[in-house]
Amino acid sequence: MRFKSFFIVCSTVLGLTPLCYGQTGTIVGSKHDFSLTNNTWNFSSPITAQLQGQICRPCHAPHNTNGLSSWTQDNAGPFGPLWDHSLSTANYTIYSQGYNFWREGAATIGSPDGSSKLCLSCHDGTVALANFRTYTTGTTTMANFDGGAANLGTDLSTTHPISFTYNQALSTTDHKIWDPTTTPSGVHSGTIDGDMLENGKVQCISCHDAHNGAGVTHLLIKSNVGSALCFTCHKL
């Protein structure tokens, strides 16, 4: 068999071409579209006027972000791509549920770090949604928006752990998770480590795409029908 036909056969069988993982969602019209006039974000005047219908503005700005002049507090470090929303200063109760049986967990969970801090700057319920740059008159937080449906609070003990290193060693100690360095993510064409981890750590973005790239419910990075997202890492 010639290489060309071999390639075609394999491509057909595998469905592994990058095209299969095409991003079909968009932030426009999503839960994170802050331009919607009917979004009930309650961005009180004058913030609504300042937004000028922008989608991205509560989180990002094109200039002078990340720790310049008066909004030094907004510096999210290298994980803040032009980040402009005020960060939370909350102390968190971190996941410590542990496990029932030996060999079912061994990760060391730290305080939220990396890009998860950006998510928590709204989703911990302590910072007003409309609290970015110099616009600090917002009063609606995640705690009182939409009945608190998307509010995690500062007690993260009942939420899936984040900000922990998920490496090959962990998958050896915990025999119920896949090796992230060799297991495909099913999100893009790479591995769990390549597509879902941030500097080797599980973070909010391991499961969620804040920009709704996949276009599935709960801003997940891929559909969780059949718990497919869970099973990406959990060997069950």
Partner: protein, 211 residues
């Protein structure tokens, strides 16, 4: 290219496919994706676990209602070293949150899902009920001292299992207790009746019992 090479190469590449993963809970009795009358998200895990907003008193990330039943516990006259078996705790209590035959299977995510409570049917063998006097004891500490007192139990700290470790590391919970998952692997139906170890030749029984 010869067929064997093609197969070989394809296999290597296929090793990267999600389809090659173990899918042992999928299609098992614990796969609730087909229970659309109360599981409307199409998610498999959600009946027992959720990523956010779970029960702080049960692990891990427990999303199901936990049973509030009072159970009749095992009283074996030859069961040495244990004065009494306590109420089920740890993971066993989670199992019994469906298998008590009273609690609604569809009570999860903080509410009744669907319109009618669905307890485990009376007629199924899977229904343990609230009378545990006729079931192997659970929720008791199994340690060297118990093995010594009993005389026919292996020392869990040294006796090996077919899983590669000792009874203590492979079969007991983090408090050193025997629980439902000491014998059952809730997430894997590969072995008969969700067995943790095949019981052919009663190998599972004889892992602990020195008979």
């Amino acid at each position: 290219m010869k067929l064997t090479k093609l197969v070989l190469l394809s296999s290597i590449l296929l090793g990267l496919s999600p389809l090659s993963k173990g899918q042992n809970i999928r299609g098992s009795s614990h796969d609730f994706t087909s229970k659309t009358q109360y599981n409307t998200t199409g998610e498999l895990c959600i009946v027992c676990h959720a990523p956010h907003g779970t029960d702080a008193t049960a692990v891990p990330l427990w999303n199901h209602n936990t049973t509030s039943q009072i159970f009749s516990t095992y009283i074996g006259y030859k069961f040495q070293g244990i004065a009494s078996i306590t109420q089920p705790d740890g993971a066993s209590k989670l199992c019994l949150s469906c298998h008590d035959g009273v609690s609604a299977i569809n009570q999860f995510g903080g509410k009744l899902q669907g319109t009618t409570p669905v307890p485990m049917p009376l007629t199924t063998n899977d229904r343990i009920g609230t009378d545990l006097t006729n079931d192997h004891p659970i929720s008791f500490v199994y340690n060297t001292a118990l093995a010594t007192l009993d005389g026919t139990l292996k020392d869990p700290s040294t006796a090996s299992t077919s899983l590669g470790g000792t009874i203590a590391t492979d079969l007991l919970d983090v408090n050193g207790k025997v629980q439902c998952p000491s014998c059952h692997e809730v997430h894997d139906q590969t072995i008969y009746r969700f067995g943790k170890i095949s019981n052919a030749g009663s190998a599972l029984c004889l892992t602990c019992h020195n008979k």
